[in-house]
């Protein structure tokens, strides 16, 4: 499968590299327009770590959903395009993550993802056998991404009713066309990175993707790569749709292990490469550095300096970025290579003690109790907003071998019962489907909401245990989807560089923003037999049956009667003689 993927990508990437732009090809019918953008955002984190987020976006004005077959691929990877066409996929979101995003230290990620693999797909409403298509699709994707997505089956697939709405255009909201699955145990490594890189038009040859060297990417604290395919509007009127492919890669480098404890970051230190050119196929290629906390350069020094600044509201917060446009030669300076350097000013005390952040929304989850019979799953959801309550959707999919006692479900905040306004619960079926629990909760301001539910650990059949049963069994992350009041809307008092007329009413279009938070996956030990035992048990059972039962049965069914003791030899001879003589026997 890897080999095939490779060939397709080459098919797609080679002609443009030869140097003929598609527009300059008049005789052929006008090829559908496609466009590729690449971008890297670097955000120095509060804890001293550094966060780098790559996004590669390919938009193709081709109609995958129509009847005509799409056969000529240019920037869009053919392997994915064919999959989308064949399986009538409307939207596809797949992420591979190694590590857990530490909201308390790092703030919010640009694109959240749960540890392990996550896949959710909206199928088109023309698909009749959704489950069958889903099964095939996961197997094909498993080949494309070299991942164990083929382990997705009915026991870990759910159909969320509210948490996962289509991100692209389209008004199909019948969740029977949605499938969602996570594999919390999936380990992400280079074999997943290589096929992911091969989907890029420039591969790892030019542009930002030269930085994606696995020896550095996997020497990090957090690594997440994702592919999102969705239909988007082609023009403001939205008469036709385009297909958008976003490939994202997020990585966090640790201050202590990657940075040797020095708060000084450069592209070379992070990726052991520098940038020398943009991807020639890209219409835009930019590097952003988050300098919000550093408006006058009092915190750190950014070199080479760039005059270009841009502001954007990201995750409800107004951020300022320095921009390096790689399509401009000036960005590379005289050395013909760009190696941004962030050096903190207070060199005597490079390492700031990491104080925990208070993100507006975060959560934790754990298993309570001990012993191998029962347990309790606790999910804590924190709302740190000082005065606003907001609703969240909590989704948890729990495998069938944890038998949830749904009558023990309690939701409480601030010591009071908090009644969910919407509950969607689908009970599990043994060996067929997991529990699905979706709840709409209102989080009171400045509170902790605790959701607890008790469960019983099932005893599996002996062939159902994994090869390492004593490691435990994973329960995938819960998903919390929320509309969080934005920080910008929060400071109604600050008139900092804003006209007064704009800031009277706190409600604005950016008053709240959508956010998804994933909780930790759980590792739960199930009662595990000693697998050397069956042999012993067989021996013991056979012995017990043969010896114990046999003789007991014998003892119980035998009839006992008094037996005349047989006379001795002398007596018998005497009796024979007596019989001859006709006298009574002895």
């Amino acid at each position: 499968m890897i080999a095939i993927t490779q060939r397709h990508v080459h098919d797609a990437a080679v002609p443009p590299l030869a140097g003929d732009p598609p527009a300059a090809d008049p005789p052929s019918p006008p090829p559908s327009k496609d466009d590729f953008q690449e971008e890297l955002v670097i955000r120095p984190l509060h804890s001293g770590d550094i966060y780098a987020s790559f996004q590669f976006r390919t938009v193709w004005d081709a109609d995958f959903m129509g009847d005509q077959k799409v056969s000529h691929y240019r920037l869009f990877p053919k392997s994915l395009g064919q999959v989308i066409t064949k399986f009538s996929v409307r939207e596809l979101h797949i992420s591979f993550t190694q590590g857990y995003w530490r909201t308390m230290q790092w703030g919010q990620p640009y694109l959240p993802s749960p540890p392990g693999a996550e896949l959710w797909v909206w199928f088109q409403d023309t698909v009749t056998d959704v489950d069958g298509t889903w099964k095939e699709l996961t197997n094909v994707l498993s080949g494309i991404f070299c991942a164990s997505l083929n382990f997705i089956d009915s026991t870990n697939t759910v159909q969320p009713s509210a948490s996962f709405k289509p991100l692209g255009i389209g008004n199909v909201t019948d969740h029977s066309f949605l499938r969602y699955a996570t594999l919390p145990r999936e380990i992400v490594c280079t074999e997943n990175l290589t096929p992911w890189k091969k989907l890029l038009p420039c591969g790892s040859k030019a542009g930002l993707s030269v930085l994606l060297k696995s020896e550095k990417l996997f020497h990090s604290t957090f690594h997440s790569q994702a592919v999102h395919v969705r239909p988007v509007c082609q023009d403001p009127q939205c008469r036709t749709t385009s297909m958008e492919l976003r490939q994202t890669l997020n990585v966090v480098f640790d201050l202590h292990t990657s940075g040797q404890g020095k708060r000084e970051w450069s592209l070379f230190k992070m990726f052991s490469r520098t940038l020398t050119e943009a991807c020639p196929l890209a219409s835009s290629s930019k590097v952003y550095v988050d300098v919000t906390d550093n408006p006058q350069g009092e915190q750190f020094e950014l070199s080479p300096a760039t005059p270009l600044l841009t502001q954007a509201v990201v995750l409800g917060d107004r951020r300022t970025y320095s921009v390096y446009d790689l399509t401009q030669q000036a960005s590379f300076g005289s050395s013909r290579s760009l190696n941004m350097l962030l050096r903190w000013k207070n060199s005597h005390n490079n390492v700031v003690p990491p104080v925990m952040l208070r993100p507006l929304l975060h959560s934790e989850r754990y298993v309570a109790g001990y012993g191998l019979q029962a347990g309790e799953i606790h999910t804590l959801i924190y709302n740190h907003h000082p005065y606003r309550a907001f609703p969240v959707l909590l989704l948890s999919a729990v495998p069938w071998y944890l038998r949830l006692y749904i009558h023990t479900l309690t939701v409480s905040s601030k010591g009071k019962d908090n009644r969910p306004s919407y509950i969607h619960y689908q009970p599990s079926k043994d060996r067929e489907r997991p529990h699905l629990l979706e709840m709409l909760l209102q989080l009171p301001p400045n509170s902790v909401t605790e959701v607890t539910v008790e469960f019983e650990r099932a005893l599996l059949k002996w062939t159902e245990y994994t090869p390492d049963p004593n490691h435990g069994f994973y329960v995938g992350s819960s998903v919390i989807s929320a509309l969080v009041p934005s920080v910008v809307a929060m400071d109604t008092n600050s008139t900092l560089d804003r006209p007064l007329f704009s800031s009277f009413f706190p409600c604005k279009e950016e008053a709240s923003y959508f956010m998804r938070v994933y909780t930790e996956p759980l590792l739960v030990n199930l009662p595990t037999p000693d697998f050397s035992m069956p042999y012993n048990v067989i021996c013991l059972t056979c012995t017990v049956v043969a010896v114990g039962y046999g003789s007991l049965y014998n003892l119980l069914t035998r009839t006992f009667q008094v037996d005349e003791p047989s006379p001795g030899l002398a007596k018998r001879i005497a009796n024979v003689i007596r019989r001859f003589r006709g006298v009574p026997l002895l």
Binding site: R102, Q105, F218, Q260, V351, P354, P521, G550
Partner: protein
């Protein structure tokens, strides 16, 4: 079985068993004791070996460099501890944060049922501080714990120093696959209990604690470090936990393997492994080590901070630094390297420690006796009781049939005897009375302490202990002949039935105890040898333990120790849920009262 279906042979067998009952019991007893003592004999035991593949063959390199700095941190910790007069919470939080850990604190408070005079505490309030080293690219599902107690006085400062030193060193390594939790607990076991209950969100002992903010998933293994000197001569491994639970033997193997690799002297029960098994002194050394383990296990109390982890199925052990007068010393860097090696191997674990034994005795650190080897010793002892019971049963059922032996078919002796003949009441009465006494022994001492303090010039602790002893002795003086009032004169038959019940009771009790805490059977076995009082057994055990520890005590000290052991036993039950006190009060003591009753039947 064929033997049993033949009535003649069955009769012969039963006849032999009843006739030779006493000699067979004697032989069983001797064999049981001999077997048990033989367990310490080296040729009969197995050498320890690493069963867990993930820890066995993988190589790790220990590079911890900063022992001196760790000791300096320890001294700083000591200074701050002295200044704040307790746990220097702020300093610890700051120090751990500076080392790049996620730091959280937990407050707890606990009112003891009565003052603990050994440790001088009654109202306990404290704070645990722990820092979590988040493993890179790990999803917070697994964790390891390294803990050091914050002890009063000048104890364990070096342990905290090494803990912080290791935290700093571990933080800069990339290879961690499990989160590592560095815990400094106040008020030793009480703090540990609070932390564990908070971590698992359970409350078994009614303690008040604030909920934990940060967790690392399921804890795979834990080590507790106790170190009070800058250099050590040897490291002692403590395994015995609450209710006689032991960690997986692989944890002990891991410790031993690293001690060998790094060249540190290591002991268990404070006894070095010896090679001269064929000499008397070598053998007695092994017996002493094993008996110490048995006694510690039988005491059912946690012998280190690790002891409480075992309830949560977390493999844990304590490592204690010993500084004696031996010439060769080990410095803090080496101790740090040893721990680093152990944690790196534990970090390699793919599954929970489960490959090796959970039930074992150790006559030395290099030798172990598994459950399969020591259970026959118990089996032989339990057999005595069953033989006695059989004898009594036959005696009870044979006299009425003997007269009609010729007429009745030989099945008769085994057909239903007449247990009802002495009257259920006369058997039930002593049973109920002795159990009520047991309940009184279990509940009254703690309940009546205030009353006792009011009326007698004693402290609360003394009141509890003395009440317990008083109820205990009063139990002996109880009019056990009440059955006579109800059912008339105690008959020979009734006596035998009661004895049969008592013997079977004891057999069941011993059998169940052996499954839970094997070592506890041996003190209980004292009951077998005639009328041996549980109180005296405990007293004897106290002296024997001191003797084995090579700190013999005088009678006076021994008595004081005895009193404190009783109060500690009651406290262990209240604070950590140790089962020894309820077991002794509710089951062993009534059982023994039954025997006492038998003695005074007529």
């Amino acid at each position: 079985m064929g033997l049993l279906s033949d009535p003649n042979r069955r009769r012969a067998l039963i006849g032999m068993l009843t006739r030779l009952n006493a000699p067979i019991c004697m032989i069983c007893y001797m064999a049981g004791v001999a077997w048990f003592m033989g367990l310490a004999f080296e040729p009969f035991t197995l050498r320890t070996y690493m069963s867990e593949n993930a820890m066995g063959s993988t190589m790790v390199e220990e590079r911890f460099p900063a022992g001196e700095r760790a000791l300096a941190t320890g001294r700083e910790f000591a200074a701050h501890k002295k200044k704040t007069g307790g746990m220097p919470v702020d300093w610890l939080v700051r120090t751990m944060q500076a080392r790049g850990l996620e730091v959280y604190t937990q407050r707890f408070s606990r009112k003891l049922p009565f003052p603990d005079e050994d440790k001088e505490r009654y109202m306990v309030k404290g704070t645990n501080v722990y820092g979590i080293l988040r493993a890179p690219r790990a999803p917070r599902t697994e964790a390891l714990v390294l803990s050091a107690p914050c002890s009063p006085g000048n104890e364990n400062n070096q342990a905290v120093g090494i803990l912080l030193g290791l935290a700093q060193y571990f933080r800069s390594q990339i290879y961690w696959a499990k989160d590592i939790i560095f815990l400094v607990n106040e008020h030793d076991l009480i703090g540990m209990q609070a932390w564990l209950e908070g971590y698992h969100h359970t409350n078994t002992t009614g303690m008040d604690w604030s909920p934990l903010q940060g967790r690392g998933g399921s804890i795979q293994a834990a080590l507790s470090l106790e170190l009070s000197s800058d250099v050590v001569t040897s490291l002692d491994l403590v395994l015995e936990g609450l209710n006689g639970q032991l960690p997986n033997l692989d944890l002990a193997n891991l410790f031993y393997a690293f001690c060998q690799k790094i060249g540190v002297l290591c002991t268990t029960q404070g006894k070095l492994p010896r090679n001269d098994w064929d000499t008397t002194s070598g053998y007695s050394h092994a017996v002493q080590t094993m008996m110490l383990m048995v006694l510690k296990q039988a005491s059912s109390r946690p012998w280190g901070d690790h002891g409480l982890f075992l309830r949560y199925h977390i493999e844990a052990a304590s490592i204690k630094g010993v500084n004696s007068f031996r010439p060769y010393k080990t410095d803090a860097t080496t101790v740090g390297r040893l721990l680093e090696g152990m944690y790196r191997k534990l970090n390699n674990l793919l599954e929970r420690l489960h490959q090796s034994y959970f039930f074992y005795l150790m006559p030395s650190l290099t030798r172990f006796v598994s459950i399969g080897y020591y259970m026959p010793a118990f089996g032989l002892l339990a057999l005595i009781l069953l033989l006695r019971a059989l004898d009594l049963w036959v005696q009870l059922s044979s006299p009425p049939t003997r007269t009609t032996e010729d007429a009745c078919p030989p099945l008769c002796p085994l057909s239903a005897p007449q247990p009802a003949s002495p009257g259920v009441l006369s058997i039930l009465t002593p049973l109920v009375i002795s159990h009520l006494t047991g309940v009184a022994l279990y509940t009254l001492p703690v309940l009546s302490q205030e009353l006792a303090v009011e009326h007698f010039p004693v402290s609360e602790t003394e009141a509890v202990v003395l009440t317990a002893i008083a109820i205990y002795t009063a139990g002996l003086a109880l009019p056990h002949n009440t059955h006579r009032l109800l059912a008339g004169e105690g008959t020979e038959q009734g006596w035998k039935v009661l004895k049969l019940v008592a013997v079977l009771y004891l057999a069941v009790l011993l059998g169940c105890t052996a499954l839970i805490n094997f070592s506890l059977v041996f003190p209980e076995r004292g009951l077998l040898v005639g009328v041996n009082d549980p109180g005296l057994t405990l007293l004897f055990a106290v002296f024997f333990f001191q003797e084995l520890q090579e700190t013999p005590v005088t009678l006076q000290e021994g008595w004081m120790l005895y009193l404190s052991v009783i109060s500690q036993g009651i406290l262990d039950h209240a604070l950590y849920g140790s089962l020894l006190y309820p077991l002794a009060a509710l089951l062993v003591y009534p059982c023994w009262l039954l025997f006492w009753n038998i003695l005074f039947w007529k």
